[in-house]
């Protein structure tokens, strides 16, 4: 079960790589993503004794979204900012694609790392096109190539260039501004992106939409993304892997969302997951990957789309007072019926995955 769930994400990435070279053909040297390695990285601010980040070692695999999640002040943002050297580490090494970034020119390095912040930070005196084109221009792209890239990116984030390119940031809604913020970070097609609570300042509906759009985009791009949030549910949704960080950025657990929910490493992680951990696990299991039973003959059962999760299926069962639902194709389940699923299947799914997870843990190569 775990393998299936993981595969669904990675196979999306794998399928996305060739597509990416087509849709983003305007710029050279398209790289999907690059591995980020933090080796024994420490940050101690001058005048303080206790380090803000204490000897963190972490490998972020190429093409994955790794979420740093932890309470405010735990050093997650500091850790992230050391990757683009907005904060210089006191000691340790940071490698991106094998290159020691601490040896590079800091400004040069930052141009090759996408950066999205919660406050968005669009420059109010520059038009949208100018905002997005800043990094390509700094990298020496021609005006024409930059303009083409800007148009392409505005299309990608769902803002028609004809309508938006010449506007000023003030003339856009918060959600639209953050789309531009993402486009700006993607402008020079950096292999690595850092996102600091990027959707934190938007309302829940807009946030959900931005998250979904971003995941769709990422499935095509396959960037290596470090995503910082204090919201564990957002971490579950966005992360291929989650690093649960404690004070001084000490890694409490670093694993896939499924594995963390199935087996929290300690009480700290459990407290972060909060209640309803098993329900959240169901929410990470797509019906498409579940083993369905043949559809029963009588058709008066509630129907659910195959695009939903086991959590949604449980919800429909509870809502209708039934212990099984039909699973069908189509967005609202109006298409061909694929089979059915029963309450005990959900329980089996949860316990199966827990067992799988114990095995997987044994040969997990991820450092923590």
């Amino acid at each position: 079960m775990l393998d299936i769930a993981l595969d669904s994400k990675t196979s999306q990435n794998a399928a996305g790589v060739p597509a990416q070279s087509q849709t983003l053909a305007a710029a050279p040297a398209r790289s999907g993503g690059a591995t980020i390695q933090l080796l024994d990285v420490t940050k101690t601010y001058p005048g303080t004794v206790a380090p803000a980040v204490d000897h963190i070692t972490l490998e972020i695999p190429a093409g994955e979204i790794v979420v740093f999640v932890g309470p405010s002040g735990c050093g997650k943002t500091t850790t992230m900012k050391m990757i683009n050297r907005l904060i210089e580490p006191t000691s340790g090494k940071i490698l991106i694609g094998g290159t020691d970034v601490l040896k590079l020119d800091a400004d040069e390095h930052r141009r090759n790392v996408g950066y999205v912040i919660q406050q968005i930070g669009l420059f109010p005196h520059m038009r949208i096109a100018e905002n997005i084109g800043l990094v390509p221009r700094m990298l020496g792209w021609s005006r024409r190539k930059t303009a083409e890239r800007v148009e392409e990116l505005l299309e990608v984030v769902g803002l028609p260039p004809g309508e938006y390119a010449r506007r000023y940031p003030r003339e856009l809604s918060g959600g639209q501004q953050q789309r531009v913020g993402v486009a700006r970070a993607l402008a020079a097609d950096p292999p690595v992106m850092l996102m600091d609570e990027p959707f934190g300042a938007t309302d829940p509906i807009t946030r959900d939409r931005l998250q979904n759009e971003f995941l769709r985009l990422q499935s095509e791009m396959g960037k290596t993304i470090v995503f910082v949030t204090h919201d564990f549910d957002e971490a579950l949704k966005m992360g291929d892997r989650i690093a649960v960080l404690g004070p001084q950025s000490v890694i409490a657990q670093y694993d896939t969302p499924e594995a963390i929910l199935a087996a929290p490493a300690n009480d700290y992680v459990s407290s972060f997951i909060g209640s309803g951990g098993q329900l959240k696990r169901l929410g990470l299991m797509p019906l498409r990957d579940a083993e369905l039973r043949p559809a029963p003959a009588h058709k008066d059962l509630p129907v659910i789309t195959v695009e939903a999760t086991l959590h949604d299926a449980l919800d429909v069962m509870l809502e209708n007072g039934r212990d099984k639902v039909l699973v069908a194709e189509g967005e609202s389940g109006a298409g061909q019926v694929l089979g059915s699923i029963r309450m005990d299947d959900l329980m089996t799914a949860i316990s199966d995955e827990s067992n799988d997870d114990q095995d997987a843990k044994a040969d997990a190569s991820v450092a923590s």
Binding site: N84, L86, D107, E108, H109, R110, R111, N112, Y115, I117, Q119, I120, G121, L122, F123, P124, H125, M126, R127, L134, V135, M138, G158, L159, P160, E163, R167, Y168, P169, R170, E171, L172, S173, G175, Q176, R184, A185, L194, R209, E213
Partner: protein, 265 residues
């Protein structure tokens, strides 16, 4: 799908903002166009009044159009040169004092500016003349010392007022410190800096009337002569012209603020 509908619905908000801003702008411009008309009317009234008077020989010599033109030109020269020098000194100083490495000397810089403005301008100009001798450049130095504070203070306030998130975004995308200053901080501080320039300009035009005490010319000459020779018509004429000039300078400053303000903010 949903994103597309939102995108389609939101432009209207943008357009409405545009519209209200547009009419507001129109009203502002209309208000601005009134100023020179009123000032012109004041000068016309002054001209008619002077013509209605019977002038004695002293008055008619002092109120000779040629004399007035020379005094006016001197006054304008003093004010412009002094303001230009003040900008050239105060803006870079303000930039310097807002850099992280110079934070500790900021109070000292502001203190010097306060000092320049706090000492009575007439005293400053006379003291400078005792030290440097009389003449145009001494007057300019006095005026610069006097007008530095508003520009320095506004440059510092304007630069400090730039949203730190914007500076971080700029640094994070790979702009050098100099590029952040040039492309983000200064453009965003322009409205505040210009407000300071406008204040300084008006202050300079008004204070330049004192230049006559150290033989640097200007409209102050006629004003003082009127008092000394007991000819109120002289004082009134030069006083009104100096006042009109100050208001005109303020008007020019207002237009500069409107034109040079970056669009989008």
């Amino acid at each position: 799908m949903a994103a597309a509908t939102v995108a389609a619905a939101e432009p209207r908000i943008g357009i409405r903002q545009h519209a209200t801003r547009g009419s507001g702008l129109l009203r502002r411009w209309a208000g601005m166009a009134m100023r020179p008309i009123v000032l012109g009317a004041v000068l016309l009234l002054l001209y008619l009044w002077v013509h209605a008077q019977t002038l004695d020989s002293i008055e008619s010599r002092a109120l000779d159009p040629q004399q007035i033109r020379i005094a006016l030109w001197q006054h304008v020269q003093l004010s412009l040169v002094a303001t230009a020098l003040t900008i050239a000194i105060a803006v870079p100083l303000g930039v310097l004092l807002t850099r992280p490495f110079a934070r500790w000397i900021k109070p000292i810089g502001l203190g010097l500016g306060n000092f320049g403005q706090a000492i009575p301008s007439i005293g400053l100009i006379v003291l400078l003349a005792l030290w440097l001798g009389t003449g145009f450049w001494t007057a300019v130095i006095g005026l610069v010392a006097y007008a530095t504070l508003p520009i320095l203070r506004n440059t510092i306030v304007g630069l400090d007022g730039v949203d730190p998130a914007l500076k971080e975004a700029a640094r994070g995308m790979g702009m050098s410190r100099l590029a952040v200053l040039r492309r983000v901080e200064l453009p965003l501080a322009v409205p505040v800096i210009l407000a300071g320039v406008r204040t300084a300009l008006v202050l300079t035009v008004a204070t330049a009337a004192l230049a006559t005490f150290i033989d640097a010319g200007g409209l102050g000459g006629g004003l003082v002569a009127g008092i000394k020779l007991n000819r109120p018509s002289l004082s009134l004429t030069f006083g009104v012209i100096a006042g009109v000039l100050a208001l005109f300078a303020d008007w020019i400053g207002g237009i500069a603020e409107e034109v040079l303000r970056p669009r989008g903010i």
